[in-house]
Assembly symmetry: C2
Homo-oligomer: 440 residues x 2
């Protein structure tokens, strides 16, 4: 068995997992390396952040998913170096993996465009830990507002802003408004959660800019109906833990006291891309050839959000279907190489674009067929639950959603870690130092 | 409304919550203070620790449980001082609560009997954070074993010990054995998880010492059948992050290299008990009078695990039914005081004793009727799911259990936080510094 070609796949997201599965029947041995033990169904991550789903609902251990695929070994580990000349991957625990083929598919992370100091004040959403941190922050904000004696402090705790009007920002803002208006109804005695203001802030002229203009407009209307204040054409000039500042143009600015700001404005490629000696684009994505290998290294592939792929005059978008297609393609390309056939060129099949907004609100663009509102929401729901990995998860998610739909309740409203609400005293560290200490 | 007597209840566990509910129709205003936002169904906590249930399955926000009880206000906060003469409770955020009646029901925590240095090496199980930390440690141990190149290190990662043969220790050991033997089957390539050794270590002569001897013997048999090595009459002399040492008698000791040791050997009362000027027993529990008030302070009550109550020649045990009964009793006592009637004496109704051991294994002692094995397990399951708070939780838990029963799978096997398996290099900090950093 050790005589078989060794394929090392870094990253158990959509690209890495689909490549692994594509090679299930081939005479190779595969090592799938991830620094986490689970595959994450990222399209539903915002539901964990907003307490609608539990973390295990949208994640499954990679080992479990792949337990019956005999030619794969799952390795929990963090890649620290790649030697493309010597064909070796080095791990933080000292492990060294020799490879015959390498797929780097370590995805993307959120980016603050040179404002890394905003990261503590405005967390982004890429991992389960991010989602739980956002959940904690949002739920604690209402607790702090209830405990605050100073009206200004109270107002700042009831002021929510989501920066970035792409799909993640739209989902977060829509769901936050639902929580404030419906989920928390009757639960507080000193504040009315429905008075919370949820603002979605987009620097560009419209939300969901990757959709046709008519659907952007419909999305904005649906957001407003859910209770979100949509602000477009206003870049954020500054964020700190007491609030944020908007550019109004002509040098004027608006300062808004707000204790909860969420970041959904940018992504950058995983830093592992820098470990390859290969050209990268402005977002750090690795430029790959038509077969997704890097120039001069036909045995090294990059796929998913880390890959910069152009199809004609358009860039292949960083969405789950594209990552799966790239992963599958890399499997095919490796098979072709092993058979000494030329590797086929990658072709992205774009089936359309979906974005959910909130309860019964979504937009769908199927290239010709445009849907919005309830119909789009059902389309989105069925598509997402259908693609969720693992039968049990699908069942659990459907149950949770049916429950949430009828009751407006969100079952995962647990704040982990003891919290000391310092209320009106102006505490700046409100996102929980405690959990880790408790964990020792 | 502010003219009504103010009842302050500290702690939203069984005692505090049941007292709150008992006063639902009385002309009082209630403030329920807890440093967490949720009520926790502690009897199923071991299932979260062993990845069978998600945290939100066994916890519900106190605000949500009490949203329709108009006379109660829920306050997230941590009590720092109690002035029984001035009838005031002080909170960490500067808040001050004046009370007419006080119920202190802040429960218990685990205790290391003077060996607090064992706490990092052998975590205990009292909170959701504890459960997630144990889950992380157990799942990572198998990952480390898989990655280890040194056979001794590998063996140490596959060596599990649970210290303490009470109900929690028995549950943890039985479930660990199930995970090793069944849940992880086929998932690893270099180790066989079924080769893991799970030892349950009890200093006394038998496990489940609060049960009749015949049931203790049955429990030990069932544990062995599940794959647990039951060690009795062997006190632990030392624990560190590389292993533990047992006293064998005659001054002899056995040193066992083990990277995963869990602590289920002792509980102590919540430190808040010390804030009352009242006599306490050796475990820190507050000695209360027949009506559960403290001597000389008829308006101050203590209930649940924090209260030391004797019933004839027996101590009322620290179990959920006793806490609920005490909570309800305090409600009755406050009502009696308000009507200038003498408060009734508390009488504990002992319906029996249940302990689960693992898949299809449990013991039940109903004072005369003794059950063990499958019948006892079903009895235990029905009783626990029935008492689980919140209809959705009950449904979710039943679904999860049905799933787990048929598939042997445990759906919550997610390790939070990136982890760097340092494998054979002898890392000592294996329980995750990362999560909190990620959360910023």
């Amino acid at each position: 068995m050790h005589g078989q070609p060794h394929v090392v796949i870094v990253g158990g997201g959509f690209a890495g997992l689909w490549a692994t599965r594509a090679l299930a029947r081939d005479a190779v041995r595969i090592t799938l390396v991830d620094r986490r033990n689970h595959h994450l169904f990222q399209p539903l991550l915002y539901q964990v952040a907003t307490a609608g789903l539990s973390a295990p609902d949208i994640a499954a251990p990679l080992r479990h998913i792949l337990r019956r695929q005999g030619n794969v070994e799952v390795r929990l580990g963090e890649v620290t170096a790649i030697d493309t000349a010597g064909r070796q991957v080095r791990l933080a625990d000292g492990g060294v993996l020799d490879y015959d083929f390498l797929l780097l598919a370590s995805g993307a992370t959120h980016a603050y465009f040179g404002h890394d100091d905003w990261a503590t004040a405005a967390p982004g959403l890429k991992t389960l830990e991010d989602a739980l941190a956002i959940r904690r922050r949002v739920l604690l904000a209402f607790e702090r507002a209830e405990a605050a004696s100073d009206p200004d402090q109270r107002a700042a705790w009831l002021e929510f802003a989501v920066v970035g009007g792409g799909p993640t920002g739209v989902e977060l803002a829509g769901t936050l408004a639902e929580i404030a208006r419906h989920t928390l109804r009757d639960e507080f005695r000193r504040i009315d959660p429905a008075q919370a203001r949820v603002r979605l802030i987009e620097a560009g002229p419209r939300v969901l800019s990757s959709f046709p203009e008519s659907l952007s407009a419909k999305a904005a209307t649906q957001l407003r109906r859910l209770g979100v204040e949509v602000v477009t054409g206003r870049p954020v000039a500054h964020i700190d833990d007491q609030g944020y500042t908007l550019e109004l143009g002509d040098g004027r600015q608006e300062r808004v006291p707000a204790r909860t700001v969420l970041w959904a404005a940018g992504v950058a490629a995983s830093p592992l891309g820098a470990l390859l000696q290969a050209e990268r684009d402005h977002a750090g994505r690795v430029l790959v050839g038509p077969d997704l290998s890097i120039p001069g290294r036909p045995e090294v592939f990059v796929a998913g959000d880390l890959a910069s792929v152009r199809q004609g005059d358009r860039a292949v978008p960083g969405v789950a279907p594209a990552a799966k297609q790239m992963g599958r393609h890399v499997g095919d390309a490796i098979r072709a190489r092993l058979a000494s056939r030329p590797a086929p060129g990658f072709r992205y099949r774009d089936f359309g674009n979906l974005a959910t907004i909130g309860r019964m609100a979504a937009v769908v663009d199927l290239h010709g067929l445009k849907l919005s509102g309830i119909v789009a929401w059902w389309f989105w729901l069925v598509a997402h639950v259908f693609f969720l990995i693992g039968f049990r998860n699908r069942l659990a998610v459907l149950t949770n959603w049916a429950w949430a739909y009828w009751t407006y309740q969100r079952h995962a409203r647990i704040i982990f870690g003891p919290s000391r609400p310092r209320g009106a005293t102006g505490d700046t560290d409100d996102t929980g130092d405690a959990p880790a200490e408790r964990r020792r």
